[in-house]
């Protein structure tokens, strides 16, 4: 359509009174302003809908898991968290459909799973915290620039490696080596109770540590690099030596970030399923610290790995209820972890670099 056809051309009219012109100018500005405001409201509504939709999805997920897992909690009561039986036999009974004598079909005692999860998660996070803090200090403070330019992208790359790769490497390389560390007399000493092999608590914890290290190093080194130079320079000007400055000023300022990194690492370790199903040892067992060194080689099957191994996708079967109950416990612990992280960070934020 041609520019002249529609609307029809009208020649400019005679110039109006300046006051009139000013009034009309302001009217034009007002209309334009209103149009912009309407557009802003529409955008706000669209974005708000997206955010509310995400929240609704999470709420729906929570409700589904709780509703489907409730029968398992109801049938077992607080004994669900106890150690009254062997989960292997309990899972088998649910799978086959024949209840164990003297117990309902939904009978389940998850303590070996919970204890295994606690052990490998806390162990991995503690080791990873120490190693990642020191590594981050090295990357930001001590590494020469070429080394730093190589290390930072490499760490970020490692953070993206799928966890199955770590599991495979652990299975093929680490497990046989750990197995060679276990002497035959040690295996014989517990042979009537549990089977010791290269796949156990130690292997699982080590591989889990390596898996959560990159993300923690990336976060902590980012926070250390964000500490204002003036603070460090002020400390050095007061005569504090280099290491003390790093420790007392930089790391202290980065404490909220270290807490955040720990929370993130713990969340990742809690949710790690497939890798731990491969190298955990294949048996839900609560390792006993009083066993001494044998404790490190005992098998574990953490909560998330149990969900993978015990296939319970049909929520109307006993095993489905149990698996959903395990999932509910995992969701609850993730929420608790988030809350704990927030609570620990609050007092630290006053003088720290938050993220």
């Amino acid at each position: 359509m041609s520019a002249e056809a529609f609307p029809p051309a009208v020649p400019p009219a005679a110039p109006p009174h300046p006051r009139e012109a000013r009034r009309q100018r302001h009217a034009a500005q007002l209309t334009a302003h209103r149009k912009e405001a309407a557009r802003d409201r529409r955008v706000e509504f669209a974005l708000g809908t997206l955010a509310a939709g995400t929240l609704a999805l999470i709420a729906a997920m929570l409700v589904t898991v709780l509703v489907n897992g409730w029968p398992s909690f109801e049938a077992n009561g607080l004994g669900w968290f106890g150690n009254s039986g062997d989960p292997v036999l309990q899972f088998r009974a649910m799978q086959v459909g024949t209840a164990l004598p003297g117990h309902p079909l939904l009978y389940f005692s998850a303590w070996p799973l919970i204890w295994g999860t606690l052990l490998c998660t806390i162990g991995a996070v503690v080791i990873a915290l120490v190693v990642s803090t020191l590594a981050a200090i090295f990357i930001t403070e001590f590494a020469p620039l070429p080394v730093r330019r190589v290390l930072e992208p490499v760490v970020r790359l490692l953070a993206g490696v799928p966890s199955v790769i770590y599991g495979l490497v652990g299975l093929l390389l680490l497990a046989p080596w750990v197995n060679s560390l276990i002497s035959i007399p040690r295996k014989e000493s517990v042979q009537y109770v549990v089977q010791l092999s290269g796949e156990g608590l130690l292997t699982a914890t080590l591989v889990l540590t390596v898996m959560i290290l990159p993300i923690m190093i990336a976060l902590i080194s980012g926070a250390l690099a964000a500490v204002p130079a003036t603070w460090r320079e002020g400390s050095v000007a007061l005569g504090v030596n280099r290491w003390r400055t790093i420790w007392r000023v930089s790391v202290r300022a980065a404490r909220p970030a270290i807490v955040s990194a720990t929370v993130l690492g713990t969340a990742r370790a809690l949710g790690e399923a497939i890798m731990l199903a491969m190298i955990g040892g294949g048996r839900p067992w609560a390792p006993n610290p009083l066993d001494g060194l044998t404790f490190l080689f005992e098998p574990i099957q953490p909560l998330a790995a149990s969900i993978v191994k015990e296939f319970g996708d049909n929520p109307n079967t006993p095993i489905g209820h149990t698996v959903y109950a395990i999932a509910a416990l995992l969701l609850f612990s993730a929420a608790l972890l988030s809350l704990a992280g927030w609570a620990v960070r609050q007092p630290l934020k006053r003088y720290g670099i938050g993220i």
């Binding site: 359509m1 520019a3 002249e4 529609f6 609307p7 029809p8 051309a9 009208v10 400019p12 009219a13 110039p15 109006p16 009139e20 012109a21 000013r22 009309q24 100018r25 302001h26 009217a27 034009a28 500005q29 007002l30 209309t31 334009a32 302003h33 062997d86 292997v88 036999l89 899972f91 088998r92 799978q95 459909g97 299975l171 093929l172 497990a175 046989p176 197995n179 035959i184 295996k187 014989e188 042979q191 009537y192 109770v193 549990v194 089977q195 092999s197 290269g198 796949e199 199903a277 491969m278 040892g281 294949g282 048996r283 098998p299 993978v308 191994k309 015990e310 296939f311 996708d313 049909n314």
Partner: protein, 353 residues
């Protein structure tokens, strides 16, 4: 009032009227967006609004104006629809996306997704490759693992088009599934290469796997000493089901102390790594480990075919109801007994068609 731009900032001559001012103001404001105008060009004169705007907006059609002499006219051809960098990026990325999507969209036949038993997995992969080789226009079916229970549940839920199962149908399986037998397979009891036990009787296997015998010293023919390391499979496995039915019998259960592996290959790997290990795998996974005789009969294909070897079980392809469409074609081809499938199945398994 104070926030709004002052009149002095609008550079227009005195001869303009209110509608003209409005148009100029609007054209001046809207040229900020990178998607409508190029960045550093100011044009003047009323914009000819699009046909959609003219139809749907409540405004009276705006006055058409031309720019004063010497100024760039908004309605002149060269200032309309000047390609913007954002437009170009959008066009290029859309073209790439369409190019990537085109090959998948162009494939007329649907790609089958087959999943389930890790025992059936090697056979199914070979069959799928041969099917695509024989019918190049049909895309090669995608074969996954996950163990038998997952295959059966996957077919029932629609995740898989066809499921693989290495165990017979159970009463606890979902209703409405059709099992089609495609081959038979043997289960071998395997030990580490350092411990090549020549023969197991059924009683010995039952005692070892139920945990009654726990030391290699009590097993005749053992070349290693120390505790027996049992390797089982997880509860979703069809091989474990078949092992329990054939070797253990109805009354005995495998010891709960056994390590449960998630697939045939993990079991094979675990047993090849530990000298004192014993477990069970499907025929196709006996490289790198020692397959022991069972009741005096070697665990070999010939013995399984002749019926002498006792540890033989069925392979099934599972579909939801009678197979339909592409799945029906594939299953019909596999069970037709043609030369290709017979050769593949007879390489490591027992043909039934």
């Amino acid at each position: 009032m104070r926030r709004w731009p002052q009149a002095e900032t609008i550079e227009v001559g005195d001869e303009w009227s209110a509608p003209d001012l409005l148009e100029v103001y609007m054209s001046g404001r809207e040229k900020q967006s990178a998607f409508t105008k190029t960045k550093h060009e100011r044009c003047e004169g009323g914009r000819a609004f699009s046909i959609l705007h003219q139809i749907f907006s409540n405004w009276p059609p705006p006055v058409h104006l031309s720019a004063p002499a010497g100024r760039k006219d908004c309605n002149a051809p060269e200032s309309k629809g000047v390609p913007v960098r954002a437009h170009r990026t959008l066009a290029v990325s859309l073209t790439f996306a369409l190019m990537l999507a085109a090959p998948t969209a162009a494939v007329a036949a649907k790609r089958l997704i087959i999943g389930g038993s890790t025992s059936v997995l090697p056979l199914q992969q070979k069959l799928a490759a041969a099917y695509h080789h024989q019918f190049p226009h049909i895309p090669e079916p995608k074969v996954e693992g996950g163990q038998s229970d997952i295959g059966i549940a996957g077919v029932a839920s629609g995740k898989f088009d066809i499921g693989d199962s290495s165990r017979d149908p159970l009463s606890t399986d979902p209703h409405g599934l059709v099992f089609t037998k495609i081959a038979r397979d043997g289960i071998c009891v395997i030990t580490n290469d350092k411990n090549p036990i020549p023969n197991f009787s059924q009683e010995e296997i039952q005692k070892i796997f139920s945990g009654t015998i726990r030391d290699w010293g009590e097993v005749e023919g053992a070349k290693v000493s120390g505790p027996i390391e049992l390797f089982d499979r997880s509860n979703a496995s069809g091989t474990q089901d078949a092992f329990k039915n054939i070797f253990m019998g109805e009354d005995l259960a495998i010891s709960p102390a056994a390590s449960a592996e998630n697939s045939n290959s993990e079991e094979q790997n675990a047993i090849s790594a530990a000298p004192g290990a014993i477990g069970f795998v499907s025929f196709a996974y006996t490289q790198g480990v020692h397959a022991a005789n069972y009741q005096g009969v070697a665990c070999s294909l010939r013995n399984a075919r002749s019926g002498q070897y006792g540890g033989v079980r069925n392979f099934w392809m599972v579909s939801k109801g009678a197979p339909k469409g592409e799945a029906a074609k594939y299953i019909a081809w596999v069970t037709s007994g043609n030369k290709t499938t017979k050769n593949i199945i007879n390489s490591s398994w027992i043909a039934v068609h």
